[in-house]
Every structure is written in structure tokens, then in C-alpha cells.
Amino acid sequence: MTMIPVNVPKRDQSARMENWSRAFYRFRQSWLSVFGLAIVLLLILLAIFAPVIIPYPEHVLGTTNTAARFLPPSSAAWFGTNALGQDMFSLVLAGSRVSLFSGLAVVIISILVGSFVGAVAGYFGGWIDEILMRFTDLLLTIPSLILAMAVAAALGTGVGNMIIAISITWWPAYARLVRGEVIGKKEEQFITAARALGAGWPRILGLHILPNIMSPIVVKASLDMGFAILTVASLGFVGIGVKAPTPEWGTLLSVARSSMPDYWWTALAPGFAIFLAVLAFNLLGDGLRDVLDPKARR
């Protein structure tokens, strides 16, 4: 079959620039969103440059210094030292790499799996939709933290296994979201046009529908980043997931619990790190939603 040449007008470049600057203007309207973005950028920079900044790199690798046990915060050790005499500032800084990386990995895997399942279910409908969505609904009724804990425990400790375990419980939410969006888009005229031009379903879904439903996915992903970090820390806190000496915020907090209440500072730094990271991603997500999702705008 020969393709009919269609002259698609290119979108005006200057109009696109104007859209972006308008979006950024709207984003700047809320100082909370800007604050969230600033903290997120700071966290990313800290995580990237952590190897250079960390004052005591040997502590991250597991070196202990029993002479300096439980030192309160000072100029030498900003957040104090723990039961092994390790510098908490170094550990928390190193933990930011683990937390941000795992959070990002969970969200990306969930988006990939969830979008695929949701897009296929929404596009084809019928019994395919029925089977996929009933399965998704069932997974959504299982308490996700317990499921993630069980899977992580069975797979064994390690960052990779923990990411898989959390992703298993997270993708159904994306499948639901994407399915709804695909159903809303698939009857539109530009899809009919693409189908008339002979495009197959992978092409229509990937090239025509997905780019048009990216906004809600991006908004959900940015809001979920914070909760992914929180879930990673939760698994670490109950003793499943990342094991010491890999520094992870939840694991650090769980270790600190055994030296409470006398040496409270060992808990303070990792705890506030989790709080700040979750807060920053939530604020950023709220800001993005105001800009990208006109329906939710007030």
C-alpha cells in the first residue's frame, strides 16, 4: 500500500517558546513550587557530587572509629557520629544517592510497565481490557507495603531486589491512569486519521497517543518520586531492603533507633533528610500539576 503524502504543517517555533515561558511564569507564581524545585535540584546536585563532598569517605565504606563513638554534632562532624564512630553527615550524604536512585528507578519501571499494560487494555478494550484491569484491581487491593516487604524478603537483600519489589506494587496505579487517558484519546479524529493512513497499533499508541497523555503521567511521577523515596526508607526501617553497610536513610534511622533516646542526633539527620526529600518532590509535583493539568487548576 502506498502512503498518501500528507503535508503536516510544522508547529510554529516561537509559539512553542511562548507556551514554555507562560508555563514557567505560572510555575513561578507559587513560591512553594519554586522552593520545591530548588530543594530537588539541590538534592540531585548533592547526590551527584557526594563522592567529592563527603568529609569522611572511609566511613561510608564501613571503617569504624570506636574512639569517636556517639559524638554530638560539632564542627568536625556536623550531624554527630553514630555507634561505630562514623560521621553521620557522610552517611546521610551517601544515602541520598541510594534513595534518589531507587526512587527514580521505581517510578520509571512502574511507568514503563503500567503504561504498557494500561495502553494495551485501553486501546483494545473488550476481553483484553477486562482481564488486564481485573488483575490490576486485585493488585491494588493488596496492602502494598506488606506485598513489597514479602517480595523483597523473598528475593533477598540488595538495592536491585528492593526496587523490583516496590515496582511490583506500584505499576497498577499507572496502568489505571494510562488506560483512562488512552480511552479518552483513542476516539479522537487524529487517531482515526492515523489509522486511515495505515498505522499499526504500536505506532498509534507510541507515536500518537502516548505523547498526548504525557502531562498526567509526568505530574503523577513527580508526586510519586517523594512517596517512592518514602517507601524505600520504610522498607529499610523495618529491616527489609537495603542492608548496612550500604547507607540508606531508612536503614540509618532503624540503626539509630537502637541508640535512642540518649543519642538522638543519629536519628535526626536521616529522618529530616527523608522528610525534606518527600516534601520537596511533593511541592514540585503540585507545581507541575498546576501548570500541566488544566483540569485541576483553580
Partner: protein, 335 residues
């Protein structure tokens, strides 16, 4: 209405059946060596084989599933390899503690969150609005386990107002079990002394759990109240000379409740599944601690049992929410 509830209850059966398949498959198909763990590190192959036989783990997985399913209906939920006690008994022992915690947290979140959200919307951009919005932002981001630790440091260690952890002091005799919820049981027989002790132990963990739902309920309530306040019928009522208080509590509250209800329903599952974290911090002897113990020893039967119980409660609470929709919004009342 009655038929609707009946049909919904009937639909729970295939849902729960599907759940057992999924949970059983996850528990069984994952790598791991529960038999080896239960038999101990020095077990000979013969001991391992006998342990596997004792718990039926030597049979093919479909057979194991069938045995489990037929047992489930008869109240036999399998035996915990680790505690060697029937899972059903274990779950019934730990469930009341978790329910008490979840109910207390949810009650606090609703009783405080709904009025605050409503008032924040009425006095929009006032000081109360800013305070509730700040609390709402922080409350969602605050990890429950970290908040729990901070509460312990503040109220149990520094101020010494409340007990550090646990559900009831070992030296005291617990209230006669009626519902299994200590506070309720003590109240039912008018035992104020036990009630006070139970409440003191409950306060910190319940508050640690309630902050996130409180924040969300406040946010939802504020947003939907603002929306309702802008609708025409409110202006009509104002024009008719109805008092602000009557409009707010009789008409606006009712209309703003629907979306908040959904959130409350969703939080039941979130709270039940998330008690693990708070129970760990406060050594609260509930389902969460039981599940964690089972997971760490790869003891499948308790994990399946706990998961099914929580999922069932979640599905039932969604049903209750749907029925309550009808109460608040006659448009969706069921035939």
C-alpha cells in the same frame, strides 16, 4: 438499597478468590527456603523432608493451593511454620490491637480534619488557613516512623507524660476481652482506670499514624468546600436570609463530604497496611509486627492470612463508603 448491598457482598467472593490465587502464587513462586529456615541450620535432609511433609510443602503447588482454599473456608488458615500456631488464632489475637490503632488514628483525623478544612475554606487566606495548609504539606511528607521517634523523644523521654511504647503495662491486668479493643472494653464495663492506661499507650502511636490522613482530609475538605461555596445555591440561600451557620453546616458540609469520603475510604487500607511502621516504632503487638516477623522468616501462611484480612477489610470499607455516598448525595442513591 438492601439488594445493592447484597449484590456488592456477593461480588466480594470472586474478588477474594482472585486475591488468594495472586497472593498464593507470589508467596510460593518466589525463591526462598522457608523449610530450611524452619528446620534450622543443622538440619539433616531427613529432618528437612519431614518438616516439608508436616506442612504439606512437598506437594505440587496446585495441590497446595487447593488444600489451602478448602481449609480457608473451614476456618483453617494453615499453621505458622515459625510459631507453630494456627494462623487464624494468631490473626485473631493481633487484629484487635491493629484495629484499635487504625480506628483511633482515623477518628482523630476525621474529627480534627473535617472542621479545620471547613474553617480554612471559610476564612480563606486567613491565619488559620495558612496554618492548616502548612500542617497539611508537612503532614503528608513526614515519615510515620520518624514522627513516631520524635514523639517518643518529646512526650515520653523529655516530658515524661506518656509511656514510651507497648500497648498495656505487663504488671496490670488487661480489661476483660469483649471486642478486644482495650479502650472500648474498659469503657463498656466502666473501668476508668484501665481506660486511662490504654488511652495513654494509644495516644502517641495513633497520632503518629493520623497525621498523614489528617493532612489529606484537611486538604480535600478545604478544596471541596471552596468549590461548593462558589455554587449558585449557596448564594440563593444567602439571599433568602438563611444564617451563615445553617448554610455551612446543613448544606455546604453535606455537599463537600463526598470527595472527602473517598479519601477516608482509601486511607483505611493505607493505615492497615502501614501499621507495620508505627507498630515497629512503638512495639505495638498488632498484625503489622506479626506480618513483619513472618516475612523475615519467610513464613508464608501468616503473610497470606494477614494480606487477605487487610484486603477484605479494605473492600468492605469501600462498600461502606459507597453506601455513605448515597447518604450525602441523593443523586447517587441506590435502588
Amino acid at each position: 438499597m438492601f439488594l445493592y448491598v447484597l449484590r456488592r457482598l456477593f461480588l466480594l467472593i470472586p474478588m477474594l478468590l482472585g486475591l488468594t490465587v495472586i497472593v498464593f502464587a507470589i508467596a510460593r513462586l518466589l525463591p526462598g527456603d522457608p523449610v530450611g529456615l524452619a528446620a534450622g541450620p543443622n538440619a539433616t535432609p531427613e529432618i528437612i523432608a519431614s518438616v516439608a511433609k508436616e506442612f504439606g510443602l512437598d506437594q505440587p503447588i496446585p495441590v497446595q493451593y487447593w488444600n489451602y482454599l478448602t481449609g480457608l473456608v473451614q476456618g483453617d488458615w494453615g499453621v505458622s511454620i515459625f510459631t507453630r500456631r494456627p494462623v487464624f488464632e494468631d490473626v485473631m489475637t493481633y487484629l484487635p490491637a491493629t484495629l484499635e490503632l487504625v480506628f483511633a488514628a482515623l477518628l482523630f483525623a476525621i474529627v480534627v480534619g473535617i472542621p479545620l478544612g471547613l474553617l480554612a475554606a471559610v476564612y480563606r487566606n486567613g491565619p488559620l488557613d495558612y496554618i492548616t495548609r502548612t500542617v497539611a504539606l508537612g503532614g503528608i511528607a513526614m515519615p510515620r516512623f520518624f514522627l513516631g521517634l520524635l514523639l517518643q523523644l518529646g512526650f515520653a523521654v523529655a516530658l515524661d507524660w506518656l509511656p514510651l511504647s507497648g500497648r498495656f503495662p505487663l504488671i496490670e491486668s488487661t480489661p476483660e476481652p469483649i471486642t478486644g479493643l482495650y479502650t472500648i472494653d474498659a469503657l463498656l464495663v466502666g473501668d476508668w482506670y484501665s481506660f486511662t492506661i490504654a488511652l495513654q499507650h494509644l495516644a502517641l502511636p495513633a497520632f503518629a499514624m493520623s497525621l498523614s490522613p489528617l493532612a489529606t482530609i484537611m486538604r480535600m475538605m478545604r478544596a471541596s468546600t471552596i468549590e461548593v461555596l462558589q455554587q449558585d445555591f449557596v448564594m440563593t440561600e444567602r439571599a433568602l436570609g438563611l444564617s451563615s451557620r445553617l448554610i455551612l453546616f446543613k448544606y455546604v458540609l453535606k455537599n463537600a463530604m463526598s470527595s472527602t469520603l473517598t479519601v477516608i475510604g482509601l486511607y483505611v487500607s493505607w493505615l492497615l497496611g502501614g501499621t507495620v511502621l508505627v507498630e515497629t516504632v512503638f512495639d505495638w503487638p498488632g498484625l503489622g509486627l506479626y506480618a513483619t516477623q513472618a516475612i523475615l522468616t519467610q513464613d508464608f501462611m501468616p503473610v497470606i492470612g494477614v494480606t487477605l484480612v487487610i484486603a477484605t477489610i479494605y473492600l468492605l470499607s469501600m462498600l461502606v463508603v459507597d453506601i455513605l455516598y448515597g447518604v450525602f448525595n441523593p443523586k447517587v442513591r441506590y435502588a
